[in-house]
């Protein structure tokens, strides 16, 4: 009989909390947007599905063995934990949880061993997260694959467009200020690390955002990743009004000169140039930009096509599956359903807007000082969101002048924006770690 009782006791319905119901619905909305509205489906399908899995009551798929034990709170286990943490067993579960959060790595290992002895296991998604994201490897491998898919030709044909990619990164730092401001005025409780991780949403680059969040604000990673990918998908809605508001019809009609042909050799040497500059001036950006340049070199050098093919296909696909499910594990109700999430979503869209605006303004500024005119519409592509933002520039350009194809010209700032946000990520990581240690 008690088995039936047991089954019911651990059936989902009995354990289901309202938050979990909400998050399962959120997961379904993400799946709907990905499948029906084609919102970055390669990421949002795994993230949405992982989010549902993470909120299955009783399955604890997103919990470590220790979390599961703390959640079950069996007296014997709690006593053993308290003893290992050196606190009074009578202090209660809340105290034990807090002590665990501030405990040393050695104590974490001890509790993990104890949890194992008591028969608790890590959840599937927790393991995926540890291997794929906590280790930092998945975002880097995806960045390598993106590098192997990136053509720097347009950028090399017109290096000035790097300035557009730089300007658009202002969205990142303005958002950092916004988050800090929300904290300053007591509206939300964001640390400087949280603020930096939120700001990177403005980089409009998924792997970079996940990489930074995993280092600076793991508990916000779910919201940050969802915001980053959702807004990337919304670029065609977010950018045009801003672009039109900031440009005259005349400016939008500017026809840009045909690009020069870029030689194979330049394309091969470019990633090495970037790497050398990173080595000389920005070591903290070495992991991201290093892997990005490595992927691009494999693509361009032409002698390791089989590695480049794998980096662009099997490897990036495998990594994407586990990265997405791992991000989903951060959509567990207790973490995700927090006012902070709303703040993150609000700040994220502001970041996209400001980045777009600054890119356009920078283009207009450059036209002031240069004879060779730039169509300011390609400035907005500086936020990256490859290749969506470049397509938007092209589309708006065609509206103004049906003969004016800006796509190739917009690819320059577009990939420049990827480099720009990786640089911003590097400097923020090193500065924040210096501030908080």
């Amino acid at each position: 009989m008690e088995n039936f009782l047991g089954l019911w006791m651990e059936s989902g319905l009995h354990l289901m909390q309202p938050g979990q119901v909400i998050m399962i619905l959120v997961g379904m909305v993400l799946l709907f947007l990905a499948i029906n509205k084609n919102f970055e489906p390669l990421l949002l399908v795994p993230i949405g599905f992982g989010g549902i899995l993470a909120n299955i009551p009783g399955a604890e798929l997103a919990s470590s063995a220790v979390d599961a034990a703390l959640h079950a709170a069996h007296p014997d286990v709690m006593a053993a934990f308290a003893h290992a943490l050196g606190i009074d067993p009578a202090a209660g579960v809340k105290a034990i949880k807090h002590a665990y959060e501030v405990a040393s790595a050695t104590q974490h290992a001890q509790l993990a061993n104890l949890a194992a002895d008591f028969g608790y296991n890590n959840g599937m998604l927790y393991n995926f997260y540890s291997v794929a994201i906590a280790s930092g490897v998945a975002p880097l491998v995806i960045f390598m694959g993106v590098g192997a898919m990136t053509d720097f030709g347009p950028l090399l044909a017109n290096p000035r467009t790097l300035f557009l990619g730089a300007a658009a990164q202002f969205g990142i730092f303005a958002t950092v200020m916004g988050a800090v401001g929300l904290n300053y005025f007591g509206i939300m409780d964001f640390s400087i690390a949280d603020a930096a991780a939120i700001g990177i949403i403005g980089g409009a680059d998924g792997p970079t955002a996940i990489y930074v969040a995993s280092l600076l604000a793991p508990e916000l990673l779910g919201a940050i990743a969802v915001a980053a990918y959702s807004y990337m998908a919304l670029v065609p809605l977010i950018q045009p009004p801003i672009m039109k508001a900031l440009t005259t019809h005349e400016e939008r009609k500017i026809v840009m000169t045909q690009m020069r042909v870029v030689s194979k050799r330049e394309k091969i040497i470019f990633p090495i140039v970037v790497l050398v500059l990173v080595a000389m001036f920005l070591p903290s950006a070495a992991p991201l930009l290093g892997m990005f340049c490595f992927g691009n070199l494999m693509k361009e050098c032409g002698v390791v096509d089989r590695l480049s093919d794998t980096a662009q296909n099997a490897l990036i696909n495998i990594t994407t599956i586990f990265l997405g499910l791992s991000v989903g594990s951060k959509l567990a109700a207790d973490k995700f359903l927090d006012p902070k999430t709303l703040g993150i979503l609000a700040l994220g869209i502001v970041a996209f807007g400001i980045g777009t605006a600054m890119g356009v303004i920078m283009a207009k500024l450059m036209n002031k000082f240069s004879s060779q005119k730039i169509n300011p519409l390609i400035g907005s592509a500086g936020v990256s969101a490859v290749p969506m933002a470049a397509r938007v520039s092209n589309k708006i350009g065609l509206e103004a002048n049906p003969q004016n194809f800006l796509l190739m010209h917009a690819m320059g700032p577009n990939v420049a924006g990827v480099i720009g946000s990786a640089v911003a990520a590097g400097v923020m990581i090193s500065m924040v770690q210096a501030m908080t240690n």
Binding site: L162, D305, G420
Partner: protein, 82 residues
């Protein structure tokens, strides 16, 4: 070096945005130099877009799958044209 979070935010913005601009400016310069050097000293026939060949395997084996596909494709076509 704990300071007020506001101050920290301002620092992040100033030094962060500064670094981005400095770094990308250096990159513009380096790229321009690199390109001019390459064009002067390593000129190259305008690159014919190479029909991407299936990457060669280390031990010189060629991917049997691809061959199979090619064969299948041609066979099926011939069949169709009978």
């Amino acid at each position: 070096m704990q300071q007020g979070i506001m101050q920290q935010g301002v620092d992040l913005m100033l030094y962060g945005m500064g670094t981005v601009f400095v770094f990308l400016t250096l990159l513009v310069i380096a790229t321009a130099i690199m390109s001019s050097l390459v064009q002067r000293f390593l000129p190259e026939a305008p690159p014919v877009i190479p029909a991407p060949r299936p990457a060669a395997a280390p031990a010189g084996v060629t991917d049997p799958k691809l061959i199979a596909v090619i064969k299948a494709a041609v066979d099926q076509h011939r069949a169709k044209n009978k």
